[in-house]
Amino acid sequence: MTAPLVIFFVLAALAVFGAVSLILQRHPIHSALSLIVVMVALAGLYLLMGAEFVAAVQIIVYGGAIMVLFIFVIMLLNAGLEERTNFSRLATYAGIPLALAVSGLIAAAIVRSGGHLPAPAPSGALTSTKTLSMLLFTEFVYPFELTSFLILVAILGAIVLAQREN
């Protein structure tokens, strides 16, 4: 069992643990914290795969911005414990098994399709920030601009939504 494998399993366990606790925790803040754990673990996995830039962005954007936003909102709304109502019989009985079925399908499909792939090699050259930015500004320039536009729209939408009408 080589070092990377160990690291992988540790991080994977961390991620799964975080995801499970995200589900089981009853307080949104705790769920949020669990999710942060997941994200950090994933960032670690990216680093393990040699995708440093993505890892950093993952932490900065997801960890530093999005999740902060979540926690901020939770604090703002002063959300209390989650009340476990069961108004939806469908979801109560069929929900979990179906969800598991979907994940099983996906897992099976992924394994079948990705079985023959070579192991991801941490090659700095491949995913150096330069390469990514080159791609981003040449091949994917239109999607890139689109995303910027999307962000703009999102900002406007958020402002419109959040401001109290006066």
Partner: protein, 100 residues
């Protein structure tokens, strides 16, 4: 080295847990988190593929996904705030006016 499949399976598991959360949770904010979890799982698969195939495209997609997630969070949380103000509850099962 870690086989690609491990990453893929992990991402599948995370995705499934995300779905489970989406069905299981009642708090609307937590639902959002479950969605984010799914997105992250997808990202993991993306990165794994791109790394093992030696193509950086996958990571570019990851960046896009992150951007979209950010936008979604911004708007979605705004909506959540409004909902909470109007309905005085964050429980999605109590926000069920959209029915006959």
């Amino acid at each position: 080295m870690v086989p690609t499949n491990y990453y893929l399976i992990l991402s599948a598991i995370l995705f499934g847990l995300g779905i489970v959360g989406f069905v299981f949770k009642r708090n609307i904010i937590t639902l959002f988190m479950a969605i984010e979890l799914m997105l992250n799982a997808v990202n993991l698969a993306f990165v794994a593929f791109s790394q093992s195939l030696g193509k950086p495209d996958g990571e570019v997609f990851v960046l896009f996904v992150i951007v979209v997630a950010a936008a979604e969070a911004a708007v979605g949380l705004g909506i959540i705030i409004l909902t909470a103000r109007n309905r005085h509850s964050l429980n999605v099962e109590r926000v069920d006016l959209l029915k006959l």
